[in-house]
Symmetry: C2
Subunit: 118 residues, 2 copies
DNA sequence: TCAACGATTCAAGGATTATTGAAATATGGA
DNA sequence: TCCATATTTCAATAATCCTTGAATCGTTGA
């Protein structure tokens, strides 16, 4: 994740509807969600959800895949992890104080990393 | 850091000049930088830097403090850590795959956390 | 083939954000 | 007090983003 991608990702996440969509897609996991379901749950019009989905895809945060009549959207875990990484490395450039609490949060939901550290 | 603050922070970081400013302020640490120095280093006009500084302050990512004629801006480490935390917790809501790599990055610049985990 | 479904695209409008330069404010020193 | 410095504020313009509804596209089943 370079700066260009990070800027796009920050922009994508700075809009309420899109942040909502990302949260839903992260929760729904690899199965993803159809555009229509997203629109329904987020309570926005089909064309509006389509606009925001395109924006999120342009930022690399989600991917799409047609499944019969539906188009299924899925969160791009690598991109989201990459964004956290960008923010963390950028902010931690010599300043452990910023990311120490963040590391604690990240560590508690990533047991594999705990083992690596011991 | 609630969603409202996170949205503002993402918006603030989605602009090239502002991301540049944040990076400079994080590096410069608690001493911060005067508005003029920021403008000079970022190669933007005084009034433009003022606009962006106000935006960053509105998002809670920086604080200001007058020092004689200058106004010194400082990165708000808590807010930056809070944003990483928001992103991490939000994305990790049941999905360790996303934040495992992020945790590794965060851990390597926060030795204190390593000890806590052992 | 035709109708229905799920979704996108397009154009228009409104709203927000960014840039610029000129004017204003605050501070410190002669 | 007056001037210079450091910075902000303001108004105007340009650029970008968001929303809406109508039209379009691809897929499936009758």
């Amino acid at each position: 994740m370079d700066q260009r991608q990070a800027l796009a990702a920050f922009g994508a996440l700075s809009q309420e509807t899109r942040l909502h969509i990302i949260r839903m897609l992260v929760v729904s996991g690899p199965d993803g969600m159809a555009a229509g379901s997203i629109a329904e749950k987020a309570e926005v019009s089909p064309s509006n959800v389509s606009f925001h989905l395109k924006e999120l895809e342009r930022a690399g945060l989600i991917t799409q895949q047609r499944e019969s009549r539906s188009i299924i959207y899925t969160a791009n875990y690598d991109a989201l992890g990459g964004l956290i990484r960008f923010l963390t490395e950028d902010c931690c450039g010599g300043n452990a104080e910023i990311c120490a609490p963040a590391a604690a949060v990240a560590a508690c939901c990533a047991p594999a990393t705990k083992e690596e550290l011991q």
